[in-house]
Subunit: 147 residues, 2 copies
DNA sequence: CACATGATCTGGAATGATTCCAGTGATGGA
DNA sequence: TCCATCACTGGAATCATTCCAGATCATGTG
């Protein structure tokens, strides 16, 4: 039987399918940004502009900002903003994972929650706040910066 | 016996004593900023400039930025930077506590680590990073914004 | 208590990330 | 295929923050 590659591999849907699945228009900038992010996890806007331009030739900075905003709003990418660093984006969404940021070079790596089912997400006193999410950022030194 | 108030109440040292204790020069801007922060926990720079000016009359914005940088570097205040908000400062330092930020109005409140001795600070895989600190930010709605 | 020294404050300009805006161009349903 | 709408372009503006050079002040010494 001749199943299309798209149907055969449902594990990693194409950028086009992801966009269609959310009812978003499929544009060159969007698919290129999603692919660039697949290849460069935790990339910042500047990096993504460069990578997208390598593929598409010419893309405005604002287009990339707009694409990332739309993708973030629709849950296709996740935005993190380490203190003192420009925003970074990743395609790993939906699961509760955290990040470690290098104080030296700003490198970011994923960190899964240590203990079973996210006990750190249950604070003691909430001061009447209705808590929705918890975000953990580890700070340290990456292997290279640690020497 | 005639002990001075300073010696009697070691619980909350004056701004002057805090500065002297770190070998820092005692200036009007610094004591005013420390006092302003005592009265306004989690205040941002803008707010602190206003409060300091109410007491001192005229202070440059840059002086406040400089004061806050020096105080932060010497561990007298703690700086937090919630994503999408300007930096905020607090005098509660040295203990491992976290923050909840309101998605509506940006209000910040302190949150003590829920479970015993900070298990959330022990990540599972560190990717070779040498982890120094962990920072937890809860996001939700404050009582007012939750309606 | 006056002085010298070096840190601190002032005012102004610059930076970097991000957003806003008006106009042109592309996408996808009719 | 045609059109309404949404997306992209280019330029300017915003916001928080930092940089710079010069004037001022805090502090240890004589």
């Amino acid at each position: 039987m001749t199943t299309t590659p798209d149907h055969a591999a449902a594990a990693t849907p194409s950028a086009t399918d992801l966009l269609r699945g959310r009812g978003l228009r499929v544009t060159a900038a969007r698919t290129a940004a999603l692919d660039a992010l697949e290849a460069n996890p935790h990339a910042d806007t500047d990096t993504l502009v460069r990578v997208v331009r390598e593929r598409l030739g010419t893309v405005s900075v604002q287009a990339v900002y707009d694409v990332l905003r739309v993708l973030t709003e629709h849950g296709l990418v996740h935005r993190i903003e380490p203190a003192g660093h420009p925003a970074r984006y990743e395609r790993r969404v939906g699961d509760n994972h955290h990040h470690v940021v290098c104080r030296g070079c700003g490198a970011v790596a994923d960190v899964d929650c240590a203990v079973g089912h996210a006990p750190c997400l249950v604070p003691s006193a909430t001061h009447g706040f209705r808590i929705e999410t918890a975000e953990v950022t580890y700070w340290g030194l990456c292997p290279r910066c640690a020497g």
